[in-house]
Subunit: 227 residues, 2 copies
């Protein structure tokens, strides 16, 4: 499903170069559930942005379902994103003027889904994450963990083949976090490929495989017993 070879990302800030990812080699098979861990600043969100086609690498190759996407431009990137990928952002990225329901419906607008079905699917996803009684609240009328759960619901509504979740439980109490992981495991059971970044080992262990980053490099990649 995902095949990264020598993937490199260098940011430029003024005269300074930040090597956010260095020659990352990573394969994820369709249907896997993989956790990504590593210190703050080690390149995890950068990796997720590249896998999610939100940004392009400086060097290296990225095959998504066998298609080379490293050199795609918008709007081809946008099409890949909307059709195949659901993304839960580390900082939620909700639209402030839309309520929870409208935020959750957004990916379906791009996919041309009709209004009635958008509403039904968004309601279902928001109910699943425990927000049925908050659907008309706008982001600034929601708690941190509620915003995070709207971001999760939004990532699910297009029934993506690949779900990318960057710290999806970072603002959730332990029990809400476990409820989200149960949703993810159920989706994975239905064949959705999931890559999730987390700094909490109890969350990471839900996956069968944990990949570790440090200073932009992939430094460890192991199968975990008893997820």
């Amino acid at each position: 499903m995902i095949n990264l070879q020598d993937l490199t990302k260098i940011y430029t800030v003024g005269l300074e170069k930040v090597i956010a990812l260095r020659q990352v080699n990573l394969k994820v098979q369709a249907g896997e559930l993989v956790s990504i861990m590593g210190p703050s600043g080690s390149g995890k969100s950068t990796l997720m942005n590249l896998i999610g086609c939100l940004d392009r690498p400086t060097a290296g190759s990225y095959l998504l379902e066998g298609q080379e996407v490293a050199h795609l431009e918008e709007p081809d990137l946008a099409q890949v994103r909307n059709q195949k990928i659901g993304f839960v952002f580390q900082t939620f990225n909700l639209l402030p003027r839309l309520n929870a329901l409208r935020n959750a419906e957004l990916p379906m607008l791009y996919a041309g889904i009709p209004a009635r079905e958008r509403r039904e699917r968004a309601l279902k996803a928001l109910t699943e994450v425990g927000l049925a009684d908050r659907i008309y609240h706008r982001p600034n009328e929601l708690s941190g963990g509620q915003k995070q759960r709207v971001a999760i619901a939004r990532a699910l509504v297009n029934k993506p083949a690949l779900l990318l979740a960057d710290e999806p439980t970072g603002n959730l109490d332990t029990r809400s976090g476990e409820e989200i992981m149960a949703i993810f495991q159920a989706l994975n059971g239905q064949g959705v490929t999931i890559v999730l970044v987390t700094h909490e080992y109890d969350i990471a262990r839900h996956a069968k495989r944990i990949v570790q980053f440090r200073d932009g490099r992939l430094v460890n990649d192991e199968i975990v017993a008893n997820p």
Copy 2:
């Protein structure tokens, strides 16, 4: 230091009323270190906003260092905030057009501190949280945990008597989170009163007292052995 009596906060969304806090009674002595825990949506950030004088209660009283602040208006509230309180927000609230250094200097501008001292203090705080090599990066050029650490540095620069930290380690790997807690414990050792919201028990246990919220109510308040 903090004396909340029957503190109540009700939000109105359209025709709906959300009782975010119900008759909360809480005392925090000067020099204490208190952790606040509870499910997503249970009222923790609302409580922090009231204690931090960023919002006013619907009912009840709030004595801060013996002064009734529940009915203060801006700019008196702003003066209390700037002089006494450092706040780490759950969603960081950095200014997107300022780099890390300028974001960290911001509270000192309001306090009338001269430019050279602002820069020195901001540099020191950013170095302490491990961001010396990121001071010229703007928020969108920082990782999630780096943004969080800028928000922490910013809360410290005015040497507040009261530090309020809402999920300060929610985006940090375990080790960076422990480094932040070491900073907080050192400050507490110097007499700074600290109230911190967290959903991770390993972080909460650094405090000697853990207060639990549920559905807007304070439901448990106990001393913790061996922090």
